[in-house]
């Protein structure tokens, strides 16, 4: 027997495919022939031997079919393996190719990773707040909240008893005093109905949750502490269960710790502890005196529900509306006129009503911005790759000539781009985590920090990265393949490089224009926000904004009586005024520029209001030194007298705008105003200030003396403002200590310098400036690089032409201009498109801008100037370089 060496069978295997059946026939035939011969050799007749052979062999057909089945199966596996190894080969080739130009690969990867990374980061934010805001809740999609605002306890009970479509629960979150050490602090306490935890499907991390049994007036006062509060405020006390924590001075026994991450239905405010609704009367702050759970006119709870199986949201909404209508008729006087029932999915409604629009719009703008950055990155990288492809034409031609198919080469480009995109995707995830880390202290409108959002890569984000990188890879690969395989004719090999690809292709021009357009949009955005911040910073709030310390206290949470409160206020001011470094201090019921407001009805004797004029006035209850402390000057008259008497309670200081409005051309001092039924005498007029936002027009405003007005209904929170001679931060500890010594049970919170508040107020501007500024700058750099790259590419192809022109005596400046001019088309085209887009998009950010029109001509002109200048410079540099090459060198360059 001769034996063929190993490599041969591999070759046979390679050709196994089409010959499977023939090979089997041959093998079987060999067997039959050998047997036949053996029998014949033994002297059996040919005919007998044939019969004997077949008898021994059995069914030839079934043996053949069985072998064929095995063969076909192997063939399939073989092909799959070949495809896989082809892919492996392509990837290896791509990686080798990229490794040969590491600088190019790094730039491409970085640009793409930035594009994907910023999108991923913003998506992470959106995902955390808008798309997936209800961690720790079992079936968020089945949970609905009533959008009409709040409801009274009896109304909740009616809904609960009557609804057939929704299982109803209710809660209310409120800052209350909490005490587990020596000093009371402030905590967000959620007062919840007994079914709250069951409906939300949340279990306890330790101990148990609150049960319906806890929600009875006679039950022991039980509390579930939030996981985060247990960790951060209670030091993960392992023996917390069974301990007593006081809320507004009432002892509660801790029965459980909530599940980690569970924050109920309010995304922006993490409750620190949950107590039962039935415990509310015990802990209600003194301002709530006279209101009981049974007060139907007192709407204070947020109602939510779980849709019963098979019920759709519209069905449930219809039923609840019906019940609401019936209730309006049963209790006409007691049901609020704003009693409009509407359901919405809890995931949407859980954003706080006031900031929901802002947050959604804010992220809408951000998503648009980062989308533009992404597109810009793609266009830029596509152009970079095209320039590289042009350099590789020869390589491609050679491979085509050597028999590589066009699909094969297209596949190679695709693989290469996908490899690039995948690496970028990985880098992008890293960039995102870095961004989240760097931005952790950032506060969003609504008061939520980025850290609290707890952003981690999740399945949706991975899907985004995967989709983005895959699409990018396919796009880039297709662009290159179309360009290289389609446009490359067999002429390249024959022609010299100078003639091939003399100018940029329309594709490159289009990509260049797209880059210019996108960066123009981003730069306009950045410019608008910068101008707006500038304006906002120029605005004079009308009061002192530096060297101010502010703190809040709530005597109601300590359940103080009116006289005890009055004593506390007076004594605290006295002691704080004695602290070294304090210039003056005052109480104020509404902190300026925080959105806090108090409104009174108003009657001005002698003033006839217009038909639709609302006779209301905003007021602030302050102690004597408020105006000097805040640096608001008196224009006329006097401030409140030093010692409060009964008379001072009837004296008010009014704003300039109020004086002008109700006593135009007359002296308001000494006049009378009737606010909420009380008759007051105007003793002074103060200069106007901005009370709510920095852009307010001056409004009528009234300062009422604190004496005798200690506690208002509902909220007894009052601010202390202190003007300091030095850094206010140094006084935080002293102030806290003084307040504690005057009222040990009074919680002190939100202590800090007032500047912080102003910073937060300018949040959209500052964020807009920093984000859009960064993105705009990035866009400018990327687009400039794009122009440079494309012009450089075209110029490099035309070195010979330049040489000829210069040899023929054309001035180098004229040559340079020709080069630059040729590229002005896409640049100007891109600008026009960009301007159109910017005008369209500008409208969407109008509400974030202060004192700047979204069509601000200064911004537009500056942007166009910067962009034009940088693109012309980017084009000039390579063009000039080409013109400096000596004609002889240029002619010989091929």
């Amino acid at each position: 027997m001769k034996h063929t060496p190993e490599p041969l069978w591999r070759r046979y295997l390679r050709f196994w495919g089409p010959r499977v059946s023939e090979d089997i026939n041959e093998e079987l035939q060999f067997h039959l022939d050998m047997r036949q011969r053996e029998l014949e050799d033994r002297g059996v007749s040919s005919q007998r031997a044939k019969e004997e052979v077949m008898a021994r062999f059995g069914s030839l057909a079934s043996a053949r079919n069985a072998c064929l089945a095995v063969g076909q199966r192997r063939e399939r596996d073989e092909r799959r393996g070949e495809r896989l190894s082809g892919l492996k080969h392509d990837i290896a080739y791509a990686v080798r190719g990229l490794a040969r130009s590491p600088g190019f690969a790094a730039v491409v990867i970085l640009v793409l990773a930035l594009g994907v990374g910023v999108n991923l980061t913003i998506f992470g934010f959106v995902d955390a707040i808008v798309l997936h805001p209800l961690p720790g809740i079992r079936h968020p999609e089945r949970i609905v909240t009533l959008t009409s605002g709040s409801l009274s306890y009896p109304a909740y009970r009616d809904f609960k008893e009557r609804s057939r479509t929704v299982e109803v629960g209710a809660f209310r979150q409120r800052s209350l005093s909490i005490q587990h050490g020596s000093e009371p602090g402030l905590a967000t306490i959620a007062t919840v109905t007994g079914n709250y935890f069951r409906l939300l499907g949340s279990s306890a991390a330790k101990g148990r949750t609150l049960l319906p049994e806890d929600d009875r007036p006679e039950s022991a006062r039980a509390m579930v502490v939030a996981y985060s509060y247990w960790r951060h405020a209670l030091g993960e006390d392992p023996g917390l269960l069974g301990k007593v924590i006081q809320v507004n001075g009432v002892p509660f026994t801790v029965v459980g710790i909530g599940a980690a991450g569970f924050r109920g239905l309010d995304v922006t405010e993490q409750p620190d502890a949950w107590i039962s609704m039935a415990a509310w009367p015990d802990v209600a702050p003194s301002g709530f005196a006279g209101l009981t759970l049974e007060t139907r006119s007192w709407s204070w709870m947020t109602m939510f529900g779980v849709l019963k199986p098979g019920v759709t949201l519209p069905q449930a909404e219809q039923e609840l509306k019906q019940i609401g209508e019936e209730m309006k008729q049963s209790y006409p006087g007691e049901t609020s006129r704003n009693f409009i029932i509407g359901l919405s999915p809890a995931s949407v409604a859980s954003l706080p009503g006031s900031s929901r629009g802002d947050i959604v719009r804010f992220f809408g703008v951000l998503l648009a911005v980062v989308g533009a950055v992404f597109l810009l990155a793609c266009a830029n990288v596509a152009n970079l790759l095209l320039a590289r492809t042009a350099h590789r034409r020869r390589e491609i031609e050679v491979r085509l000539t050597l028999g590589a198919s066009r699909t094969r080469i297209a596949r190679q480009f695709l693989t290469e781009s996908l490899v690039l995109a995948s690496i970028s995707g990985l880098v992008a995830v890293g960039l995102m985590m870095l961004a989240v880390y760097l931005l952790r202290g950032f506060t969003l409108p609504g008061g939520m920090t980025i850290e609290a959002m707890n952003i981690r890569p999740n399945i949706r984000m991975i899907a985004i990265v995967f989709t983005a990188t895959f699409l990018t890879g396919v796009f880039l690969g297709a662009v290159q393949a179309a360009h290289a395989v389609g446009a490359t004719s067999m002429t390249t090999l024959r022609e010299s490089g100078a003639a091939a690809g003399r100018t940029r292709s329309p594709l490159q021009a289009g990509l260049l224009a797209a880059q210019i357009a996108l960066s123009l949009v981003l730069l306009v955005g950045a410019g608008l926000f910068t101008r707006s911040l500038q304006r906002a910073l120029e605005l004079d709030p009308g009061f002192r904004t530096s060297n101010l310390l502010s703190a809040k206290v709530d005597v109601g949470l300590a359940r103080y009586t009116e006289s005890r409160a009055e004593q506390f206020y007076a004594e605290a001011i006295e002691r704080i005024n004695r602290l070294p470094g304090v210039t003056s201090a005052s109480w104020s019921s509404a902190n300026l520029l925080t959105g806090e407001e108090n409104i009174n009805t108003l009657v001005v004797p002698g003033y006839v209001p217009a038909e639709d004029e609302a006779m209301e006035v905003e007021y602030n209850v302050v102690s004597r030194d408020f105006l000097p402390t805040m640096g608001i000057p008196l224009i006329r008259g006097n401030n409140f007298p030093a010692k409060g008497t009964l008379a001072t309670r009837r004296e008010v200081v009014i704003s300039e705008a109020m004086s002008k409005r109700y006593w135009p051309g007359r002296d308001a001092v000494g006049q009378t105003v009737i606010a909420s039924g009380d008759t007051n005498t105007v003793i002074g007029i103060a200069r106007d200030a901005r009370y709510h936002t920095l852009t307010d027009e001056p409004i009528p405003y009234m300062y009422l003396p604190l004496e005798g007005r200690a506690i208002g209904l509902g909220s007894s929170t009052i601010s202390l403002v202190i003007h300091t001679s030095g850094d206010p931060d140094n006084l935080v500890g002293d102030v806290r200590r003084e307040l504690h010594s005057v009222g040990p049970q009074v919680p002190v919170f939100d202590i800090g310098t007032v500047n912080l508040t102003l910073n937060q107020l300018l949040f959209p501007q500052r964020t807009g400036v920093s984000l859009l500024g960064a993105f705009g700058f990035l866009a400018l750099v990327v687009a400039t690089m794009g122009v440079y790259g494309v012009v450089g590419f075209v110029v490099a192809r035309r070195v010979r032409e330049v040489g000829i022109r210069m040899a023929l005596g054309e001035a180098s400046s004229s040559v340079v201009w020709r080069m630059v001019k040729d590229n002005l088309g896409p640049i100007l085209g891109g600008m026009i498109v960009g301007l159109g887009l910017a005008v369209l998009l500008g409208r969407t950010i109008a509400s974030f801008l202060y004192g700047v029109s979204p069509a601000d001509p200064v911004t537009y002109l500056a942007t166009i100037g910067i962009l034009l200048l940088s693109s012309v410079i980017a084009a000039l540099v390579p063009a000039r370089r080409a013109s400096r090459v000596s004609p002889m060198m240029a002619l010989r360059s091929e």
Partner: protein
């Protein structure tokens, strides 16, 4: 001569054993088994080939096209190292089965424990 029926699963083991002595084509395998068993087993020769191809698919044997003694193209099979391991496993399994069956069949009297 009365042929004995083949127990299921034993054909694979016999093929592996046949190839453990060296490279053989299908007919060679058939002849070896025939000679060793003195033609006592009734093997349908046709069933040999699907078995060979299956063993090749599993990687226990390799197939090579070569030339036979009479200069005809034939497919030769060879045991791989994986196949050698498999053969060892099959042999020891067979011996255990055979020993057990032997014990049962040669037992003289049932020995059932009283309870």
């Amino acid at each position: 001569m009365a042929s004995l029926d083949l127990l299921p699963g034993t054909l694979d083991a016999m093929i592996l054993k046949a190839l453990s002595w060296g490279t053989l084509h299908g007919y060679g395998v058939a002849r070896w088994i025939e000679q060793v068993t003195e033609d006592a087993l009734a093997i349908e020769e046709g069933s040999l080939y699907p078995a060979l191809h299956r063993l090749e698919e599993r990687g226990w044997i390799d197939a090579v096209w070569g030339l036979s003694d009479n200069n005809r193209r034939a497919r030769f099979y060879r045991l791989t190292s994986k196949g050698r391991q498999q053969l060892r496993a099959e042999v020891s399994r067979w011996q255990r089965v055979a020993a057990a069956v032997e014990k049962v069949l040669s037992a003289s009297k049932p020995t059932v424990a009283e309870t």
